[in-house]
Symmetry: C2
Subunit: 237 residues, 2 copies
C-alpha cells in the first residue's frame, strides 16, 4: 500500500444522449487521466467515456459496477486502485453521482479510508429544475420518490402542502418515467388550486420543457406524458 | 411588442476567481449571443463576461442590477428586451441563479409573461458539497442560513437533529464567511457526538477543502476558519 492515496473524482454525466454541452471543462480535463471507474452501470459508463474521448482505448479501462440491489455492499477490490495511488472516477447513470443515486456509499468509504474526494461540476436535474421553476430557491427539500400507494401518497401530499404553508420551502420530487402521468394526475387532484406546480422534463436536452402554473390552471391545461420523458416535479408558493 | 419573446438564460457563474473550469460548454456557447443581463451585482457580472469573452465590447452590453434590499420589486424595464424578442441572461454573485439568491423573482416574472426560461449547467456549491460529503443524497433539505441568535440557533439544531433521526434527510446550510468559526463552534457544542458533520470550503477552487467526520472526532480535530472562505455545512447520518 502506497503512502499517497489516489483521489476519487465525482463526475457528472449528461442527462441524455444530446446533453453533452452541459458537461464542464473540469470533466474534460480529468477524464483522460483516469483508468479506473466505479459506476452504477458499466454500459452507460463505457458509452460516456467513448463519447467524450473517441480515441480512448476503452478496453484498457477498468469499470467496477455497483451491486444494483445492494450498492451498500462495496467490495474492497473496488477501492484498491485508490489505495495503490491511482485516481479513480465515480459515475452514475445520469447527472451528479451521490445525488438521487447510490453513489454516496462510495464517497463515504473513501472518507473512511482517509482518501481525497473531488466533486466536479456538471448537470443536475434537481438544480436545473429548481433554477427554472421560479419557485423559492432559498429553502427547499428534495424527497426522491413519493409513495406509490394511493393512500400513502395522498397523506404525503397533505404533509408537503402543510410544510409549504409553514416554511415556504419548495418541495421537489421525481418519479419513474412510466408513472409520471399517474403522479401528475394525483397532484392535480389532491393539491390545493392556488399552489404552484412546476413540471420540468428533458432538462439540458433539445426537447427540454419547463412550466410553472397554479394547480387550478394546470387542471384546465393538462399535460401529456406519452413519451415517458424523465421529469422533476416541484411544488411551492 | 413583438410576437416572439426572447428566452431568459439562467447562467451559473464561477464560485471564485479560479473556478472557471467549472463552467459548462452551454455557457460558453450562449454568452456571446447575449446583449442584456439581469444581475445581482453589475461589477461581478462585467468581470465574468470580460473573463469568458476577453474580446467582447462590454460597453455595448446592458446590465440591469436587482435592488439589493428589495429584489422582489422588479422594474418592467428589466424585462423589456425579452418582450421585444431579445434573449437575456440572469447572473447571480456565485453559482446558479435562483438558488440561495434572489434570482427566482426574475424567473417567476418571465413565467408570468409567458416567456421561455433556459437553465444552464454550472457550479452549485450546494450540489458539490452534497456530492462530496458522502451523506444521504437521496433526500435532503437546504435551509439557507440558520438563525444567528444563540437560543434560536440551538432550538433549530435540535430540530434538525430530530428530523435526521426521523427521516434520514441530510440537512444543508450556509453562513456568512466571517461567522463560519462561530457556527462551527456551535455545531460541535450542540450536536450529538455520533452525528456526521461535513464542512466543504472553496468548492471548485484550487484551495477546495471537504471533510466529513463524526461530531466527536471534530471536537478533537477542530478546524481553522481564519481565511473567511465560503463554506457549506451538512449534517446527517
Amino acid at each position: 500500500m502506497k503512502d499517497k492515496k489516489g483521489t476519487l473524482y465525482l463526475i457528472p454525466v449528461p442527462l441524455g444522449a444530446e446533453g453533452y454541452a452541459a458537461l464542464s471543462q473540469q470533466i474534460l480535463d480529468v477524464l483522460p487521466r483516469l483508468k479506473h471507474f466505479i459506476v452504477e452501470r458499466e454500459r452507460t459508463a463505457r458509452r460516456f467515456v467513448k463519447q467524450v474521448l473517441p480515441d480512448a482505448d476503452i478496453g484498457a479501462l477498468t469499470f467496477f459496477e455497483l451491486d444494483k440491489h445492494h450498492p451498500e455492499i462495496l467490495p474492497n477490490s473496488f477501492v484498491r486502485p485508490l489505495l495503490e495511488g491511482c485516481d479513480m472516477g465515480l459515475l452514475s447513470e445520469a447527472g451528479c453521482p451521490g445525488i438521487a443515486d447510490p453513489g454516496a456509499v462510495v464517497v463515504r468509504k473513501v472518507h473512511e479510508l482517509g482518501g481525497a474526494v473531488k466533486p466536479l461540476s456538471g448537470p443536475s436535474a434537481i438544480v436545473l429544475a429548481l433554477m427554472a421553476s421560479g419557485l423559492n430557491g432559498q429553502q427547499f427539500v428534495f424527497h426522491g420518490y413519493l409513495p406509490v400507494k394511493k393512500g400513502e401518497r395522498i397523506r404525503k401530499l397533505r404533509e408537503l402542502e402543510r410544510v409549504i404553508s409553514q416554511t415556504g420551502r419548495t418541495q421537489i420530487f421525481i418519479e419513474t418515467p412510466y408513472r409520471n402521468a399517474q403522479l401528475f394526475e394525483a397532484l392535480l387532484q389532491h393539491l390545493p388550486r392556488d399552489l404552484s406546480l412546476c413540471v420540468a422534463m428533458d432538462l439540458s436536452l433539445p426537447t427540454e420543457f419547463v412550466a410553472t402554473k397554479k394547480v387550478a390552471l394546470w387542471r384546465s391545461q393538462p399535460l401529456s406524458f406519452e413519451d415517458k420523458r424523465p421529469a422533476v416535479f416541484l411544488i411551492g408558493r
